[in-house]
Every structure is written in C-alpha cells, then in structure tokens.
C-alpha cells in the first residue's frame, strides 16, 4: 500500500511540473534545431549554448519547483499528513525529480545524437564529449536536489546553484585539456577510449555518491517540519 502512495506522490510531481518540463524540452529542441540547421555560425553557436543552458536551467528549476517550493509554499505538511514516513517522502521525491530530469535529458540527448547521425552537421567523433558535457548538468542537478532536500532552505539552494553554475564552464575548460579527448572530436567515428570512460565513470560515481549522502542525512533527521 505504501508503494502505491509513493507512486501517487511521483505522479503528483509530474502533474505539477509537466508544464515546466515541456517548456524546457521545447527550448532545448529549438536550440538543437538552430545548432543543426542554421547557416550562420553565430546562430549555430547560440543554439549549441542554449542546448546546454536548457539542461542547466532544468537542473536548477526542478529542485526549486518540486522540492523547495513544497516547504516554501507550505504544502509539505499536506503531503506529510499522508501515510508516508520522511524517508519514504525523500525516496518518492528523489525518484520523481530524477525521472523528471532524466526523461527530458535523455530526450534532448537522443535528439542531439539523432541529429548528429542523420544530419552530419557535426562529426561522429564529438559524441563522447557531448555525453561528457551533458553529464555535467546531471551532476549539478543531483547536487542541487540533494542540497535542497537535506538543507531545506533557499539559502542552500542558492549556494548549490552558485557552486554548480560557476563550475560548468571551468570543468568544460578542463575537459578540453584532457589528452585523448580533443584529438578525436573531428574524427569520423566516436572513440570510447580510457579517458572518456574514466570521466564518464567519475561523473556517474559522483551522482551516486551525492544521492547516497543525501539519503544518509535524510534518514537521520529528527525534525521534519519546523
């Protein structure tokens, strides 16, 4: 019975955030079309940047809308009056925001790959880097969500946003310096060499670590509503 409550909480989050997700997927797809079909280089660059920006905005806005606003707008007491424990609530919230981010993330990334494969506007060699760079907003999303879930305040959200948004471009710069990555960008095939797999593993591992830490702190909470 409890699993059905968790399921209903997930469905509820989807219903509440459906518009936000649709708008940002639309923005991401539009940006992708611009990046692939525009003739001017500036417009193509603008499209490429906005493709990642849409993932970044989603990584920031989903935790705000789905987690922080539940406290800020005082709907948390309504949810916690239902037959769920704080840990089950955190589980439902974690699953729903993860799914709400993963679906548009996969949609946009798959669209980008389809464009690359079919349009040939970009070489196939860029695919591993595209995946690595697309994972950055995913890490940022995990960090922001975990921070808001555990920290329970707007202050913590702002701190997490500053940390993630300011680090994207710096990490992007570092990635371009990794040997074994840059030389294959313009190649005709995607090369999945050790540096690529190592960076991807680090990103996935970081996501898993953040989630585990968040659940550890959440399970130790004694006061759920202040």
């Amino acid at each position: 019975m409890t699993s059905s409550v968790i399921g209903q909480l997930i469905v509820k989050d989807w219903r509440l955030n459906g518009n936000l997700i649709s708008i940002l997927v639309g923005v991401g797809l539009l940006a992708l079309v611009m990046a692939q079909y525009a003739t001017g280089e500036a417009v193509r660059l603008f499209g490429s940047v906005w493709f990642f920006v849409s993932l970044g905005i989603l990584a920031t806005m989903l935790p705000t809308s789905a987690i922080l606003n539940e406290r800020k707008k005082q709907t948390l007491a309504f949810i916690m009056s239902l037959p769920v424990s704080p840990v089950q609530y955190a589980m439902a919230k974690g699953l729903s925001v993860a799914a709400m981010y993963l679906v548009p993330w996969v949609t946009l990334l798959a669209s980008a790959l389809i464009f690359i494969e079919t349009r040939h506007a970009l070489p196939l060699g860029v695919i591993p880097t595209l995946l690595i760079i697309s994972m950055l907003p995913m890490v940022g999303f995990c960090l922001t969500s975990a921070t808001v879930l555990v920290g329970e305040s707007e202050g913590w959200l702002i701190a997490a946003n500053i940390a993630t948004n300011s680090s994207y471009w710096f990490i992007w710069y570092l990635i371009t310096r990794i040997p074994g990555l840059k030389q294959h960008w313009s190649g005709p095939v995607a090369v999945w060499n050790a540096p690529v797999l190592m960076v991807l593993s680090a990103e996935i591992g970081l996501c898993a670590l953040i989630v585990a830490i968040a659940f550890f702190f959440q399970s130790r909470k004694r006061d759920f509503i202040h």
Binding site: M1, T2, S4, V5, Q8, V11, K12, R15, L16, K73, Q74, T75, A77, F78, M80, S81, L82, P83, V84, S85, Q88, R222, D223, F224, I225
Partner: protein
Amino acid sequence: MTDFAVELSGVSKKYRYFTLDDVHLQLPQGQIMGLIGANGAGKSTTIRILMGLVHQDAGEVRVLGHRMPAQQVAAKWDIGFASEDMRLYETMTLSWHMSFIRSIYPKWDATYAQLLLKRFGLHAEQKIKGLSHGQRVKAALLLVLARKPKLLVLDEPTTGLDPVARHEILRELTAAMADEGRSILFSSHNTQDVEQISDQITFIDRGRIIDSMDKETYLDRWRRLRLEVPLGVELRPLPGIVGVQRQGRLAVATSNAFVPDLAHAYESAGVHVQRIENMTLEEIFVANVEHNREEVEA
C-alpha cells in the same frame, strides 16, 4: 481498559529557546479534546510530535495504538490532519486535490465529499489560489473528512475565520462525531470554539500541560467569589482558592475546587460572600495560566 486514540507519556522536546516538558496526555476514543494555549505555548509542537513530524527527545507517543514516530505510516492511514499553516497546491483545482487524495485512500467517500462541497459552498473546479482563507480551510477540511479517518488532528483550524465560517467548521466537526469511535484533537487559542464542541479540555502553557480534564468538571469546579471583608477581619488563604484580588474592603477570590463549604468557610471567618459566579472557559484558562506561572516562579 480504556482505549486511547492519543496517548503521550513523559514526552519532552528541547529547542534552543523552547522546551516541551514532560507532557502527559490521554484522549479516549470517541471524544473531542480541545488543546488550549497561548501563542508559543507548545500546541503545534505537541501535535507535530504526535503526527511523527517531529521526534520527541524523551517519552512515549501512541496514536491509535501505533508507536510514534516509528509506526507513523500505519497510524496515518487513519488520521486526518490539517493545520493552520498547511497549504494546498495553489495552481491546482480542488477537484485535482480530491482526485489525488481519493487515489491514496480507499475509504474516500465521494458522496460525502460532494455533500461537503455543497455545505461549504465550494466549487470543485476552482483553483486554490482563487479561494479565500475561509474557503481554503474548508477545502482542507473536506479533504480530511471525506477520507473517513478514525482520528482528526486539527491545529488551529478556526484561526482567522469569520464567525459564519467558524460556525460551519465547528458544525461539521460535531457532525463528524456522529461516526462512533471517531476522535478529534484540536488546538486553538479561541476558548469559545473549544468550549462549544469539546468533551475534554487540556490547557498548555510554556511547554507544560497545566491541566487536563473534561469540560463539565472545569465548569463545575471553577468559581469566582465576590467577597466583602469587614475592617479588622483577616482574609486568610483557604484550600481550593488559587487567586485573590483585593481592592479595599472588596475582594475577588478564584477557586479551582469549589464546593459550597468554601463559602461557609469564608462566612465563618467573618467574610461576607456577596456573590458566587460561574466562570467562562476563557476566564478559567487565564486564571489557570496565571496561577500556574505564579507557582512555577515561586
């Protein structure tokens, strides 16, 4: 053996500037208990503890036989909880909320929900952000009542409501008690509301339960005695008198254990009892708090 809907024993919770201290509370099944206290007295903390939302530092909490907070999921299936600071999703309609709650509670009574919609004058398709404060409280109560809980826990449900809305809410709560075995615990600083519907009354002040008994006993025991003290007669303290205010020859004594013999005792001591007055629950509450604070500070 009495079955209790709510049972708190030795419950404590310490915050930096507030301590809930050794709370003992028992609400028998099928009764309505009003928890009265000033702002910041500990009403909401007590309710959050019994809902499992805040963990007590010490003591035991049982709600409908379930240990809290460990068994809060099992307990919450049969608890309807609404609080003054609880909000619904503003961008969604009441109908959406009803459908959401119905998807969770198999006991959701759709016919009763429709009846409450009519009684409260609510429109299911209206968005929550378009509702007045009174309508929001009624909407929250509808969502709680239609799930047919065994226990209703309401934290300041009538705060900020106009007299008509308050009357409607209290009438519905009374009607909800027609369902035998249902219990209600509600907090308020409005003694009129509590007096109107409660069987049991508990006073809480500065984190401590200062008194808890059935309403009739309160009203029977508490009296105000208007006295005239002749010159040269000493007004001695008598058992059962918790406060005396004196102005010249006139005095007002407040008793929390009134018996007719008390008046005779004054008369025997040479003090003339002018009048014995009943007290309202609000007067009892204030006198009780003042007496308790004097005792603590002494």
